[in-house]
Symmetry: C2
Subunit: 135 residues, 2 copies
Amino acid sequence: MMNYSIILKEHDLKVTPQRLAIADIINVNGHVTIDFLYALMAKKFDSISLATIYKNINLMLKNSFIQEVSLPQVKNVYELTKASHSHLVCSKCLRVEDIDIDLDSSFKTVTKTTEFSIDSASLVFNGLCIDCKDN
Amino acid sequence: MMNYSIILKEHDLKVTPQRLAIADIINVNGHVTIDFLYALMAKKFDSISLATIYKNINLMLKNSFIQEVSLPQVKNVYELTKASHSHLVCSKCLRVEDIDIDLDSSFKTVTKTTEFSIDSASLVFNGLCIDCKDN
DNA sequence: CTGACTGCAAACGTTTTGCACGGTA
DNA sequence: TACCGTGCAAAACGTTTGCAGTCAG
């Protein structure tokens, strides 16, 4: 159980019931789409607005409390900010999982063969998760 | 100079002036956004419609004449279908370049540490291109 | 000649904005 | 109390759809 109030404040975000709920939902579920988040928020708040979701997501992104994960073909998902990592996406159930992949040799290849100076890399694997691949 | 008519037909696409122009623009520029494509098409056709652009892009995607490249933070770009490869994106000028990166060891890591069966991978590097990094 | 393509306009889904009210610090 | 956050409604944006006329095969 995390203390979201402190983490929110550390990111210059005022603490509100809506923000605590958003933080909890993202933390518990790992990766959420806007739709998913809105559906869960609607259960906790009788009159939550999509505008509030978007405003908070955008502010949380700006303040690096969360990160946006853009995935080919499917909707963007949001996760709490953590160390750089890659993602596995199930093409069937759309589940997203984190995975650590060492990209050092790839970085070296880029440095050797191009003049690009790299800031970051995004690696996404598409396939079938353990639950979907046998069905 | 490519013969776009033959390639279009090979992908079950009827040959029209608009499609020839789209194929040429994508081939010459490497990677194009919808906006960029529309702007260039507007120069060649007095009354080109965005709907025509979208319909053709979607059909060309379906018939594997072109591929969609989804990039974090920036608009999707489209390229002629070619062998699997990775992309470099300049954060400043938004230029996109192709690069071949060997992902075999990454695939092995996924296979060893998870139960995912991987179909494909998408690797994007963000940074500054040679023209932008010194300015 | 027939079905497919084009262009226009309208519709659609998603995201953003403006404003009045209410809540946090 | 002063400012920020919320919720609603409207607007903005990108993309898709329906239709009538035109063109490719």
